[in-house]
Symmetry: D4
Subunit: 251 residues, 8 copies
């Protein structure tokens, strides 16, 4: 609850327009909606600038649909990640405007029109197998109002493919770099640019990649200092974090 | 080497002002200085906006001193991290203006004057034992031209201490949050602000903290989406990454 | 075997009412029932105050049914956890009174009536995906005679949802707190209450959550001192442990 | 801040006895003391029933002394754990009444007199090498007002030593069981009693004990349901948790 | 090749009964049979006293059948472990005398009659879910000529069930003890007997049992000195190792 | 781009045969083909002597087919590894000349005829279950122009099978040794030969083999100094590395 | 307590020679000696055939001395392992007959004379650095009445050194094989003999040996079936286990 | 023993020039020297082309000296690695010609003169802290007759430093690449050359570098196929492996 909101509330109390009991109650009950099995935090966009998003994994199709419907009713954009094809189908029957990106495993309903904010967010990936993660990041970031430049399949064992894209990289205001296996791409990229590089380890690989641990450790130990890391396969989180950077320019 | 630089070089060639051999040589030799055991990358500040920094751990006092001297001769600010007291002493005998922060284990020589850039960078830590990491971040960030707000000893088991600082948090343009043990502080902070939160796990703890692994995993799995993570105890990297965010606002 | 039981037995021997061979035999054979592939410990309720419970995972439907039937014949409440839908169906055909909770994956037959013991046990979870674990705890604890207060979907990235339930938390005599991902909820809760907090890491998450390890480590390293931890996804164990606390008040 | 406190504060506001600005300020500033490098949470005892305790590891002697002095000035009992001999000496010069337990590595100043609460807390350990952890638990629990029964060196490879203490075990209202190596003792004990068993893995062992991991995993996987676990070597936390159980009986 | 065999061969050479080329060839070609994808070591029984055994996992049904047929043709007992039901069916169509133990996942063809060797081998398991491992050990050991005493479902949380079997335990000449979860049973058993205890961790459990790692570590760290450990779920290896102990008595 | 190529390009510029813009463009755009979801590096064979290869895992059948077709059009040999049977079928419908090795999971199209280079590459494996990895290595190495000697099923527990093949081993110019479980075979082999031994851990095993980690660690810790290691199950990489050794002899 | 002992005790009761109270007391109090910080299990030799041994690590010199003295007073052989030089010195001043083996870090007092039992126990190690572990095993086994054959520095990278000792190996009734690094020696040895092989991983190595984990995993995954494993560096345990095997032949 | 050697030996036997006993003895006793605590394998150079080398870690100064002396007496070059300064001093007093490289921690005595073999071995490292490992490789490789090109401090975050050395890299016949932290350098290098790249992870780094694990995993997962890996910090092994490659060209 914003300080000004609190001052206003207390002024009403002071002026006798409300009771102490009422203030206590309102202090405690910030706006969220209780679905019994979930509490939708409609207040979050105000507080953090990020929409609450449906994480589809581990939820039944019916749960995904119900939460999606409630959020859609609130009028903002709605995003679900890690949605199964059947859940996507179920939602799209009720919300034909919702767009399902099969590779990114996302379902997006755009209800708000806004100008994309200035500055590009470059999204890179090392190989074709990293596409689902890179696209989850791209779809999320686009819905949050960013302009995206995709630079895919530029792994470090063929440097010239990467160097050919140098101009795109140096002009980006933030970069999301997805890579599995040894996860070296974010470090090499970060050595070429001034902007912050958000590294996303992917679970691509086999054997001693250990489902993304090798890439994760590689990125955490980057010898380039303008690198920070999110969870394995967390394209969504990378997009949110990038948005928090780019949006800050607006403030 | 920036594209315009290359175009200019090639024009000279076209105009007969230089030879092909010379161009090949200059293409290959971007400016770095070879100390035999180290190659100082004087070009890095131009390329990435970050000074090259001396990582003191695993270097002899003599090596630290020699690299420090070469960098100082280049005229910019010089920073050494993880310096031992004896290395610090050795450097300060030759560079009395170098400042040694014992808790942060840093040695800083400020040779450039510049206005601090607008916007504050908040640096938080969960407990007193996290101070060396938080201070490494603070000293680094200050030398790189940022304004710092320190918020220390605000662990999540006593939420009111954190909530009392809410105004400082919400006004920061970026936040660095250091925590060991369970590493929950960045998540709780990120739920209160819109700005990006850079999480720094520290090796504070014992037993199943495994030298910071517990905190690292906690931060990577944060349920707040505006969190990214750097290596355990990497206060320096967090400061560089934060600078890459704040500096972007200037561009 | 309780000391008084032994004294009585030895008295009978002393009085010639029994033989030494018989005593040796009875000392060795405390009451359990041998099903060849399992030994049912009917004596456990007397010894530990906890019913023996059928752990359904890794047992065939026929094995579950046979053990369930033997336990039911003993007259007490019967509980099976981690039961598959087919095993549940098989049992319910023979015991229509057995209740199957699909989300909790439990099967419960209540044959004993008793007053719920005084004091509430609060059961919290961080997100919707933690429900199976929280409900396993709730079903188990209810069958063992406790009064439950459910507080679900109150993750730490939206503190106001948790703080709104503060009254419920502070009045509970013990709390079970289930969370996956970074597992920070038990620590935050424990900072708000005086009662013991039993932390249950869940396998909810992906990537560096490592099937619950991140949450487990976070809880073991809690900076709040009134927290103890059970195995990943062990809602049943948390309920038993909580019962051992609440039941102690009766003694 | 307790609800009644808030109602009272708001009443004062309603009656014009205070201003809205003042209420906002007081809402934000619950009682803690700011030492610059540490914030002492004098409010914690009220909120959680546990004294704030000085964790000595990673603090300088001077820091330990300063925090100890501030806490002592507040009039309650003061406890420091993991204190080095030199830190203990430094504090005892100023506070001769502070008791240093060398094996437990604790420093305790008793300034409050209170009746020990009824019911015993049994503290067991498997071998002689577990004594530092068991004694840290014992010293902490005694200072918090509990009556302790020590049962040491009763490892499971010599069951008769444990069974000989059966009476002590069954009469305890809670048990703390410390063990390193394979960590089997808590499970065996929990099979003999009705009360809650708090398992403390210790770092005793070598090779594949991995500094307590083997014992920790053993305890988390206990096949007895009345067992919960704290961090490796965390005798202090076990004592606090046990106190939260025993103290609940008073309420 | 035994030394006497070599001496004999060289004598033949010395006496002109053979050529140097022939000796080199025979030195190199000890008896094994080459199936292209496998080399059957018919010599192993002579060398190590153990039949070569078909490890069924990762082999096609056709491969299992072909190796089984070749071994059967050699006239000794044949054993296949970890066989799928379809592989078992395929073999049994050709070898109706082969016995398939579904729980043990073994397929055994007994072609040699021999007296069981004196002395019993006790095989224990902690719970019903450990049966496949215990039975793999039992079937293997029986085929190798041992007399087995099965003692199942005697976990340490109900000590009386184990103590009731004490006579069987103390009379065994070797013991195989299978347990998952915390894996404490071998340690407790080893404290009651003089004979060697072969501990078999099983993958029974969930969460922090990590597929048997917890049990494995517990057994490796046993505080009882007459315990040695084999791989997780390796009932077959335990039986072979036990046979190497019991057979030694015959020599 | 080779230095001579660059000199030539710059000469053309100097002579007015080209423009600076053109040179910049050509410097940046080395030959690769952009399929939107993949960038085919036709330049790699020139640069590294290795064909770019399609890693089939995680790609759709359509993606495999499209990349395969593009590569085939370039005229060289084409290799795909880890291809599913359906992807192999799809490709073979269009390229009937492509050979599918089911065990090796490879698909190879030979369009270049060349003499096999002199010297043999020995490929060994410890057991039948290691065949897929050994065959992936063999198929790859053959396509790259090497002569292979296969030595299969020669695990260290039956040394005579290995020693019988000693002549093949000592004559090889490089050796690839695949083994799962304890992974000891490369060390034993390396003690018998002068040539480099490339160790390939396989994921064969169960329990504490941890999907090949045990074998990997064993090989990394080899007490023989002429051993280097590639990733678990990476038969393809071992073949490439061996080729880089054998091809060097040609230079 | 042996069954016959119990029958006798109960007969006395039946005949009025003792009271029920006395029987209960004696049942509970099997012979151990309570030193406050340790309970010496004088009964263990009777029960398990192994002397209780002082594990010196983590005990003060004074504690080692006191326990040593108590055990010596009981008249049997006394053994302390992992003793520091100062502890050894302290004990030897009081017990000049105690022998200190510096490499094995043992202290042994032989007070019982007995014939060595028939049959040799072979103790092997792979390299010179494994000597402390091998010698701990040898000293322990000798004190327990076994005849030892030492075969040292026979690592698998030089097979001929091992094969030269083949006769010693095949004649041993049990073998202890110590190895660090890749830990392959026990497997190779087990392929040459019929007797049980007790594998002891040592912490010898660096890097990816991880303090003995690589060797431990290698041994657990041995492809030879007559191998069982004890804890890293546990020469003492290996000797006890071997004794339990060899002593069984006497029964 | 080479086959021709065996044929010759057997001919002598056939011709009556020797006895069967003698042949058996000679077959068994290949040339090694027994120092009681070590068996020096003088035969290894013949068999594997590598001198046996003294691994100094974990050996006493006296042991190092004794083995060094015996090897020197055999007349070839002698190398000791990981030698402490005191051991080096002890050896150099007796062998003044032995050269001690303090950074490489090696001690080398050159007694054989030979022409360096043709072709260079490039040795690279990413940072100054990797020097000890790179120099251990360089000293070892030089003693084994190779020509070295050192390329140090060329980490991937400053690509131009590496690219400036491209000519050296492409002309090398093999490359050893040492890197800690994220370990990306070998992959980038391997993308630029045709020759085999031997990757050496170093323990340089902190936090999530886990003593070299991050670098090790990065290298094992390299997306460049001409990379193989040795143990962490194993500069010696890398040099031996490189020698086995370069020497093969001579055969």
């Amino acid at each position: 609850m914003a300080p000004e909101k609190l001052l206003e509330l207390l002024s009403e109390l002071q002026q006798g327009k409300t009771t102490t009991e009422d203030v206590v109650a309102r202090l405690a009950h910030l706006p969220y909606e209780d679905l019994d099995f979930a509490k939708i935090d409609h207040h979050r966009p105000l507080r953090t600038g990020m929409p609450e998003v449906i994480y589809g994994a581990g939820k039944t199709d019916a749960q995904v649909l119900e939460i999606f419907a409630r959020m859609a009713a609130a009028g903002g954009n709605v995003l679900a990640t890690r949605v199964s094809p059947t859940a996507a189908e179920a939602v799209r029957q009720k919300f034909p405007g919702a767009v399902h990106h099969a590779i990114a495993r996302t379902l997006a309903l755009r209800q708000e029109k806004r100008e994309p904010r200035p500055g590009t967010l470059a999204i890179l990936c090392a190989g074709t197998s990293d596409l689902p993660v890179a696209e989850e990041a791209a779809v999320t970031a686009e819905l949050m109002g960013n302009t995206i430049a995709r630079v895919y399949d530029v792994g470090v064992a063929g440097l010239h493919r990467l160097l050919a894209q140098r101009e795109v990289l140096t002009q980006a205001r933030a970069l999301i770099v997805c890579a599995g296996m040894e996860g070296a791409l974010p470090t090499v990229v970060a050595g070429l640019v001034r902007a912050p590089v958000i590294a996303v380890p992917t679970s691509v690989g086999y054997g001693a990649s250990f489902g993304g641990i090798a890439a994760l450790l590689g990125m955490l130990n980057s010898c380039a200092p303008n690198v920070a890391v999110v969870n394995i396969d967390n394209g969504f989180g990378a997009a949110c974090f990038a948005t928090s950077i780019l949006a800050a320019r607006e403030a």
